[in-house]
Structure formats: C-alpha cells, structure tokens
C-alpha cells in the first residue's frame, strides 16, 4: 500500500500557476488553512479558485493569487462580510463566477460523476443568469416540460480539504456535525490533498463509526498531518473558531497581518506567531 503522507511544501510543489483549485470547508469552518498558507509561501498564482468561500478566499485574494473565483459567497460566519475578499472584489482584482449554493453543490456532483452538467431548479429569474451569460438551460424530456439551469461540472485540477483524522493511505474521517462537501471536492478533482489534525496508524479506524469515514483513499493523492491546520477557522470537535484571532485578521491591514503571521518559512512559524500574539493580548 502506498504511503501518501507529505509535507505542506510537497503538496504545493505539485500545484502550479494557472490551475483550477477547489477548497473544501464552508465559510469560516474546517478550511485547509495550513495548505492555503503553504500556497501563500509558494510562487503559485493566476488561480481559478472554487470554494464555499471563507478566509481561504480572503487570504488568496489579498495576496493577489486569484484570477477567477467561483463561489456563492465569501463569509467569516461570525463576521458576516469577508473584508479582504470585499476589498479585492471592489478593486476589480479578480473575475467572479457567482452562482447559487445549490448550483455549486450540483456542479460538484456533476464533476464527481463525470457528467458535463446537472439540471437544477435554481438560478432562473435571478441575475445569476445575467452575470453568467455562459449558463445554459435544459428542458425536461418528460411530460412536465419544465426548464432548468444546466449547471456545468465544477471540475478541478486539484482539491484541498481538511478533516479531523486521516490514515497514510488517504482515508479521512470527520468528527464534527457536518461533512460539508469535502468528499465531493476530492472526487471532483484530478488530484486531492487532505490535511488532518492527526494521522492515525494502520488499524486506527477499526472502531470508527463507518459513516464518519467521509473521504476514500481512491480519491486522495496526498495526506498532510497538520495539527491546528484549520486555524483560525473551526474544526470541531478538535477546536472551535479562534474568534479573537479572526477579528484581528479582519481588522488588520493586509500587509501588516501578512508580515507578522505569514512571512515565516513554514507552518510552524505561523503557529508560533499566533501563540505569541495570544500571549501578548492575554
């Protein structure tokens, strides 16, 4: 069996400028932040990012790495509006493909099922159709004859997700209340990288409730052990969102934030800088 463990640096070495990158989680919840931070340390840019957007989008947008964003929203949850996403969008820093949450989900399903599109009762009548002139509709071939939006598959070159536990083969487990869409992200991508709070050794899932084993190894290319790797987003039950730090992120000028927390050589330097900040403000 193949040991797929990697470092964050080995993951981003496999990513390149211009690619389409899916990022799992939802808003400011269980985002693969350690992998995003590794991406920020690498010269990868010109990305098409597909995400139920949170600070992953804010960070990459602020750093000027996004060429096109495909998303139904970007939010920090407890802080409704993502300030760095907003600033970049208002500055015209990237192209936006804005689609509805359900359209997005069916786009993931389509890609995971190798379908060019799936029909959705969403989008019609709204300006989603106006701002995405490439969207097409399909008519039901049955008696009802209803018209639907044909949501194109959200196929990705690579996907990044973060789960609570994973083994070295790429099987991964979520322990929180919501799987989000992380399994679909992995299945919709040519390659997928899973970071996790803790690696379990062979046999470590013997007592697992089977339906918590969300991501299957057949859809995973690499596994990264990254404790606190979703910081500052939530990764329950391992930890909740770091609200004070998120507030700092949302209220600090980007350059200042990046210099203090993101300029170090690795994830460890980020985690140390965060710890130092917490001790300072305690």
């Amino acid at each position: 069996m193949t040991d797929k463990t990697m470092t964050p640096e080995e993951v981003v070495a496999r990513l390149h400028s211009g690619m389409t990158l899916g990022i799992g989680g939802w808003g400011s919840r269980r985002k693969p932040m350690a992998l995003v931070r590794a991406l920020l340390r690498a010269p990868v840019t010109d990305l098409t990012v597909i995400s139920y957007g949170g600070p992953d989008v804010g960070l990459l947008a602020a750093a000027g790495r996004i060429r096109r964003l495909v998303a139904p929203f970007a939010t920090l949850d407890s802080i409704p509006l993502e300030p760095h996403f907003r600033a970049a969008r208002e500055a015209g820093a990237f192209t936006l493909t804005e689609i509805d949450e359900a359209m997005f989900m069916w786009g993931l399903h389509a890609a995971a099922n190798r379908l060019p599109f799936l029909p959705v009762r969403a989008g019609l009548g709204s300006d989603v159709m106006r701002v995405n002139p490439g969207l097409r509709t399909v008519t039901s071939p049955y008696e009802d004859g209803e018209t639907f939006v044909a949501v194109p598959a959200l196929h990705m070159d690579a996907a990044l997700v973060h789960l609570n536990r994973a083994d070295r083969l790429g099987n991964a487990q979520y322990l929180g209340p919501d799987p989000y869409f992380d399994d679909l992200f992995c299945e919709a991508a040519d390659s997928a990288y899973v970071s996790c709070e803790r690696l379990v050794e062979p046999g470590g899932f013997a007592d697992a409730v089977p339906q918590t084993l969300l991501v299957g190894r057949h859809s995973v290319t690499g596994v990264v052990e990254a404790p606190n790797g979703a910081h500052f987003t939530s990764c329950v039950p391992d930890y909740g969102r770091d609200e004070p730090f998120q507030k700092l992120y949302a209220t600090t000028p980007w350059d200042e934030f990046a210099t203090r927390f993101l300029a170090g050589p690795d994830e460890k330097s980020y985690q140390s800088a965060v710890q130092a900040w917490h001790e300072e403000v305690r």
Binding site: L81, D100, A102, G125, R130
Partner: protein, 245 residues
C-alpha cells in the same frame, strides 16, 4: 389578549409578526436568519406551530427544549429547500415592489461599489420553498425601485420564469408587515406595528406601496407569548438591540 397596562415594545411586535409567517406551515423546517426571526420561529414552535422543525444553527435538528432529534448538514438542508419542506426568513440589503431581493453587492455587479455576501442560496430558495424577509431598518435604501442584483426572485420574474413553487408569504420590517396580496403581485402594507403611521412607512419606502383604506395593526402578543419572549427566549433583551425602543 394582554393586560392593557403592559407596554409592548416594537421589537416584540416584530417577533410576533415574524412568528406569524410560519402559522399553518405544518411539519416544515423554519429557517430564520437573524435574531428577531429566530425568536419568532422559536415562539411559533412553542405555541401555535408545534410541528415546525428547528435547527441549532449548525447541523442538528432540535426540539423546543433544544434536545437533538435529527441531522441536517448543508447537503441535506439543500434537499429540504428543493423538496419544499422549508420556510426561510432571509434578510435583504435591497428589495423591490415585486419582492426581488439583493444580498450580493451594491452598484454595478461588474464593478460594485460595495461587495456584500454574494447570492448565497437566495436563487434556489425562492424557486423552491416559501421565502419571507426580515428588514430591521425600513428605509428607502432597502426598499428600492430596482435592486442592483436579483438574488432572491420576486413575483414578476418568477412568473416570467414559470416558477411553479415560488411564494413570498410576507416581508416583516421594524415598521410593519408587507405582503403581495394585490392583483399585480406588488407589495402591499398588510399591517402597521402599533405606534407607526402609514405616512411613516410611505416615507421609508422607495416605491409606491399599495395601501388600503384601513390598515390593521399587527396583533398584540398574548400573555403567554409575552412571557415566552421576555422570560424564556430572550431574557437578556437582545431583541432591543435589533429594533430599538
């Protein structure tokens, strides 16, 4: 009826007006966005709409006492939407007289002056399950002749799109309740919260509102409802932070 000596706040009328949105809905998920709609949904669940389903705000369906009774992660939540067994009360940064709603951005979408949340699930919500709205500050900036980006679909566009499951039961604001019970499916003043005048609502609305000769007042809470709001659901009085006294 409540004791006539009890002073009921505007926020409490808003809670009642929001709760009433779910009356008669049966066994559907009440999805309130924001504090006052949330108090309304929980009040309805504890009184006249006992079959309503509620969540803990994350992925758990909970009973009136907060105990878990089911699992509703985002992907299943979206199935509730498209299956129609849900009635959401959303917010709106802008809304027009047909009920078209915007939470995406202000200004030209291609180069917005203010980026907001994004369309979120407003397009799928409005085409599949009843959608009501809660506007904590009724003003001409929110009630606009034309929204900048149609996220939630209004009656005119729903009709043009042949949307078979579209319905906007009501729009609750801090001034009153609005609905679309007019021949042209345009917004009508359905009730005024006590203390508010028709003139005040008109001045705060950026389009012509249908106003009938006699506009009723939003009903008073019962003694039990007032007790639930004040002592059980919101003992810290957070409602007054959303709608000031």
């Amino acid at each position: 009826m409540t004791d006539s000596t009890v002073v009921i706040s505007r926020a409490e009328y808003c809670v009642i007006a929001c709760a009433e949105a779910w009356r008669g809905d049966g066994e559907v998920l009440a999805s309130p966005m924001g504090l006052i709609p949330s108090l309304g949904a929980r009040l309805a669940r504890r009184t006249f709409a006992p079959d309503l389903l509620l969540t803990d705000g994350e992925a758990t369906l909970v009973g009136a006492d907060g105990a878990a009774e089911g699992w509703l992660p985002y992907r299943r939540h979206l199935t509730m939407v498209t299956g129609g067994r849900r009635h959401v009360m959303m917010g709106a940064s802008q809304i027009d007289r047909f009920g078209n709603q915007n939470i995406s951005c202000i200004g030209d979408w291609a180069a917005p002056t203010r980026q907001l949340l994004g369309v979120r699930g407003a397009p799928v919500n409005t085409l599949n399950n009843p959608v009501s709205y809660w506007i904590p500050r009724h003003s001409p900036r929110v009630f606009v002749p034309e929204v900048d980006m149609v996220c939630g679909v209004g009656y005119d566009r729903a009709a043009a799109a042949g949307a078979r499951y579209h319905r906007i039961p009501r729009v609750v604001s801090d001034l009153g309740v609005l609905d679309f019970a007019t021949p042209g499916r345009t917004m009508r003043l359905a009730s005024l919260h006590p203390g508010v005048t028709v003139e005040r609502v008109r001045a705060a609305t950026g389009f012509e509102l249908t106003v009938e000769d006699k506009v009723p007042y939003t009903r008073d809470p019962t003694t039990e409802e007032l007790h639930l709001i004040r002592e059980v659901l919101d003992p810290e009085g957070r409602r007054d932070g959303e709608v000031r006294r």
